[in-house]
């Protein structure tokens, strides 16, 4: 018998992502000042992590694939870090 049902981690990730979506929309209406942006981006990062680890199967990968997948993030980090440093610190 070939397995047709979705594996449990996939279902868990899907439900978790929908729950995080509900959470982030709810928290957007709670006045937290500058904290709202931090909460929204943190939850977004957790959601992206779930998609990458479970839907994109990175949790089963090692070594070289993780380096290739991380390379994009590395360059994005440099882009945002050096790009924003001037604007954010200008008085």
């Amino acid at each position: 018998m070939t397995e047709r049902r979705p594996p449990l981690p996939l279902v868990g990730a899907w439900l978790g992502l929908l729950a995080l979506l509900a959470l982030t929309v709810t928290l957007a209406y709670v006045p937290l000042g500058a904290g709202n942006a931090i909460v929204a981006l943190s939850i977004g990062t957790i959601k992206a992590g779930l998609v990458a680890a479970i839907f994109m199967e990175l949790r089963h990968r090692s070594g070289l694939t993780l380096v290739f997948a991380g390379a994009g993030l590395f360059w994005l980090g440099i882009l945002l870090w050096l790009g924003l440093m001037d604007f954010m610190t200008r008085t």
Binding site: T2, E3, R4, P6, P7, L10, V11, A13, W14, L17, L18, L21, T24, V25, A28, Y29, V30, P31, L32, N36, A37, A40, L41, I43, G44, K47, A48, V51, A52, I54, F55, M56, E57, L64, T65, F68, A69, A71, G72, L73, W75, L76, L79, L80, G83, L84, F87, M88
Partner: protein, 214 residues
């Protein structure tokens, strides 16, 4: 399923071929990360300069459509991941249905986006076409909507490409799936999930700011 040549001469084995395809896909995704990264950098720079204007602009977006579209896209990603997981000659029909379902959800996303665009056009919120906004925040709101339209349009273009890929793979699954199509499906799935991740961040940057204040 007889296969003429399982892998091209530059590969040592089938897993070698599949790993190479996956690494190539991640390199492509890295270039896409930087494409959207440039947009997001611009967003942060202008949001830093026009904090109130960006919050005001965000309040003029449709949070109901935005949230629905996020749920739709997350669900379509789930269907694609499921199709990859169960893909085999025996379950090709199921995979085909899952991919068709994911493509339909993608189209639904595009339709909702179109409705949203037309609402914004009616509200005179399209910079360069018809933009009218009274008050001291007009400049910031206009910059916000420039980012909004450029980012969501580029994202929607990626969605359309993804929908074509998923539809093609669904047709292949119905006809004559072979083991090498699993690699193709896996690559297309990585692309689709990446488009999903981009939307997760666009959603947080476009729809959520400024909701707790007025």
């Amino acid at each position: 399923m007889p296969e003429r040549a399982a892998f091209a001469p530059q590969y040592a084995s089938v897993p070698h071929r599949d790993n190479t395809a996956e690494l190539g896909m991640w390199v492509f995704i890295a270039t896409e990360v930087l494409l959207f990264g440039g947009l997001i950098l611009a967003y942060f720079v202008y949001r830093h300069a026009f904090l109130q204007g960006f919050a005001e602009g965000s309040r003029h977006t449709d949070i109901v459509i935005g949230t629905t579209n996020t749920a739709v896209l997350l669900t379509s990603s789930f269907l694609v991941a499921w199709a990859v997981e169960v893909f085999s000659p025996d379950t090709a029909r199921l995979s085909a249905w899952l991919l068709t379902g994911a493509a339909c959800l993608g189209l639904f996303f595009i339709v909702l986006k179109g409705i949203e665009y037309s609402k914004e056009y009616d509200e005179h919120l399209v910079p360069g076409v018809d933009f009218q906004f009274a008050g001291p925040l007009a400049n910031g709101v206009q910059l916000f909507f420039i980012f909004y339209f450029v980012a969501t349009a580029i994202h929607a273009l990626h969605m359309l490409i993804g929908i074509c890929l998923l539809t093609t793979l669904a047709a292949i699954c119905r006809k004559a799936p072979t083991a090498r199509h699993h690699t193709a499906l896996h690559s297309a799935a990585l692309y689709w999930h990446f488009v999903d991740v981009v939307w997760i961040f666009l959603f947080a940057l476009i729809y959520l700011p400024g909701r707790s204040s007025s």
